[in-house]
């Protein structure tokens, strides 16, 4: 008996093994690769090994010796020849602005000359080499493993003594964006609950044929392409769109004062609420469906008003559905990308959009990874809560 149980365990595990391996390779490995970039940035260390080695002996305050200048000059020239100077210059520049142009200019001006003093030649090319902060930036960008992307993602940085301090006020953008993302997610979750609860109630308490039809009205948008639904909001909300035309036609607004409802936070909120609403209605309906109508009838028979019966009998039993729907909508909101990117304009962007910006435009992959890691931790915590309270096996899509 014990043997056959062990056999059953092995057989069950073996059945899941192919998918576990597949997800491990095609999903978890890429995720790990991404997250590793948040702390691992070897490019500068690999590109300037000699400079960083001689810079080890530098006291950090005075100007480094001629050997350091010479090592850096040689390595910059090599990188320039290999056409791989840009990546190194960009990375150093993230720690000290002005370093990118200094590095590029230095490499270009030193190309043909073999000066007597590398130090003088380099300072002539870019005066910043005269300042210790340039070398500190070089030294720190040469750290193979670093927490600076996480510090940056939390609006912090290290000062010249290595203490963790807040970024200058004009560069603090990430915490407020994270706050905005959480705020937007809360708002959308609450609106979805307010809109979704009565609808789920109606569906759950209708006769089967009508309830199936009403359910379809929720499921069809649920399964309709995200891009289609986002497009339809553009059609409706834009300045020359259907709603503004209608408002002008009935005289609620004038041709000159059309209401900007899209390419801003309003657009993000409206479109995301509509897109995520089914994720609230379906779990609520799933729970309400199991509550026997006879309970409300019994409460009425015992003299309760509808309000009393609802608050005392019905509402408490729907709390698991509220938890499931709210967590689901919230989890999906904080990671939302497509809709804010298309209808959010400048003010309606969320944290995912900034991750995409750093992936595709600024190419600061370390920072994108750190922001991604923070977002992922939020999502993982919420999902853990969801799994505890609801269980993934209770999710449904039909």
């Amino acid at each position: 008996m014990a043997l056959s149980l062990a056999g059953a365990r092995v057989r069950a595990a073996a059945l899941t093994l192919p998918l576990v391996a597949f997800i491990g390779v095609t999903f978890l490995a890429p995720l790990g690769l991404m997250l590793a970039r948040s702390v691992h940035e070897p490019l500068v260390a690999d590109s300037l090994p000699d400079t960083l080695a001689v810079l080890e002996n530098w006291d950090g305050v005075s100007l480094p010796g001629e050997d350091v200048f010479q090592a850096l000059a040689r390595e910059l020239l090599t990188l320039h020849k290999q056409r791989s100077l840009g990546g190194v210059a960009t990375r150093v520049n993230r720690l000290e602005s002005g370093m990118r142009s200094a590095i590029v200019r230095t490499a270009r001006q030193l190309r043909n000359a073999d000066p007597g003093s590398w130090r003088e030649a380099m300072i002539a090319a870019a005066p910043i080499w005269n300042e210790p902060k340039a070398w500190r930036a070089l030294q720190r960008s040469g750290e193979r493993y670093t927490l600076r992307h996480f510090l940056h993602a939390l609006d912090l940085e290290r000062d010249s003594e290595g203490n963790v301090v807040a970024q200058p006020p004009d560069q603090r953008i990430y915490l407020s964006l994270l706050g905005r993302t959480l705020m937007v997610s809360v708002v959308i979750t609450v609106i979805c609950l307010i809109l979704g609860y009565p609808v789920a109630y109606l569906i759950a308490n209708s006769p089967p044929s009508r309830s199936n039809l009403l359910l379809l009205l929720v499921l069809v948008p649920f399964w309709t392409s995200l891009l289609v639904r986002t497009t339809s909001w553009i059609v409706l909300l834009q300045n020359q769109g259907v709603i503004n035309d209608l408002l002008v036609a009935v005289g609620l607004t004038t041709e000159e004062s059309r209401i900007p409802m899209i390419y801003n936070m309003t657009g993000t909120l409206v479109a995301m609420t509509q897109i995520l609403l089914p994720f609230m209605v379906l779990p609520l309906y799933a729970v309400m469906r199991t509550i026997a109508p006879s309970q409300m009838r019994a409460a009425a028979a015992l003299g309760a008003s509808f309000g009393q019966a609802f608050v005392r009998v019905y509402w408490p039993q729907t709390l698991p559905g509220i938890a499931a729907g709210s967590l689901l909508v919230f989890i999906l909101s904080i990671g939302y990308y497509i809709t804010p990117a298309l209808v959010g304009g400048r003010t309606g962007q969320l944290i995912s959009n900034l991750i995409a910006y750093h992936m595709q435009q600024s190419l600061n992959w370390g920072l994108a990874a750190a922001l991604g890691a923070i977002l992922l931790v939020c999502v993982a915590l919420l999902f853990f809560l969801f799994n505890r309270l609801v269980g993934v096996e209770r999710m449904r899509f039909t």
Partner: protein
């Protein structure tokens, strides 16, 4: 409705009417945006709003020009072919692996079920931008970025949770005595699966496969990160259309996609009706 709900006083009846009106408004909010797209896709003018001619139901204000454009356009044809190929291949992989895993997860002997389930569901929960960025690094590292293969694998990974959840739910209502009975009659594991389990869980399997396909068919972010010009899919074309050159062609495509979903939902409903509610996933 009155037969299923308790009856309360007059004030409550007023509340019920308010409730119905509120729900009607919410349904309009859910459905109307998609319906607006359909007539506008027949607009003869390159505008995103109803022209006076359209409102007057003037036949000349309506036209099939945007439909003609997309049918004749090489890029949209390539996008359709890519979407179908990637969607079908990804759904096939996701379904095969997902059904096996669901069979394992449904077994009472499965060790570490909660952990494995969480792991297998993670692609659905992880914000898509993080998954896509990771896959970008991964497939670039392997030299596979800008290939169909990378997109098939990416979409298969993103589609498996739908199959796992749907099939696991179907199996939850499955009577394991049927397996024991078949085994006692001498059937091996493969025969048990093929002749006993598969026919009973078929609706769940088909639904899961459809959802995996639909998820791939609607996915744009991994295509943005992994695909090149040769891998453009329909959502990728729509993305470009919305961001760059917005034209009513997009509304014509959107109308097609709404019709596609209606067909898909019809198939799922038909499957569920045909097999009764016995194999229905837990709601």
């Amino acid at each position: 409705m009155t037969s299923r709900t308790a009856s309360f006083g007059l004030g409550d009846r007023l509340a019920r009417w308010l409730h119905l009106a509120f729900c009607a408004a919410v349904f309009v909010f859910l459905i109307a945006p998609m319906l607006v797209v359909v007539p506008l896709s027949f607009n003869a003018e390159p505008y995103f709003t109803f022209s006076e001619g359209m409102l007057a139901l003037d036949a000349d204000a309506y036209s099939l020009r945007w439909y003609r454009n997309i049918v004749e356009d090489e890029e949209w044809r390539l996008a359709l072919a890519n979407s179908l190929f990637i969607g079908l291949a990804a759904a096939a992989i996701a379904t095969a692996l997902g059904v096996l895993a669901a069979l394992g997860l449904a077994s009472p002997a499965m060790p570490g079920r909660a952990l494995v389930t969480g792991l297998l569901i993670s692609p659905m929960i992880t914000p898509i931008i993080i998954s896509a960025a990771g896959m970008f690094f991964f497939y670039s590292y392997l030299g596979l970025s800008q290939t169909h293969l990378s997109l098939v694998l990416a979409h298969a990974a993103l589609g498996t949770p739908f199959v796992v959840i749907t099939v696991t739910a179907t199996l939850a209502g499955f009577d394991r005595n049927l397996v024991r009975a078949a085994e006692s009659l001498g059937a091996g594991p493969f025969v048990v699966f093929r002749r006993v389990q598969l026919p009973l869980i078929a609706p769940g399997v088909i639904a899961g496969a459809l959802f995996a396909f639909a998820a791939s068919f609607d996915e744009v972010v991994t295509v943005l990160f992994l695909g090149g010009l040769e891998q453009r899919t329909i959502p990728r074309q729509m993305w470009a259309g919305i961001r760059e050159q917005i034209s009513p062609e997009i509304l014509a495509v959107a109308t097609f996609l709404v019709a596609f979903v209606l067909v898909l939902m019809g198939v799922v409903e038909w499957l569920r009706g045909r097999h009764g509610h016995q194999g229905e996933p837990a709601r």
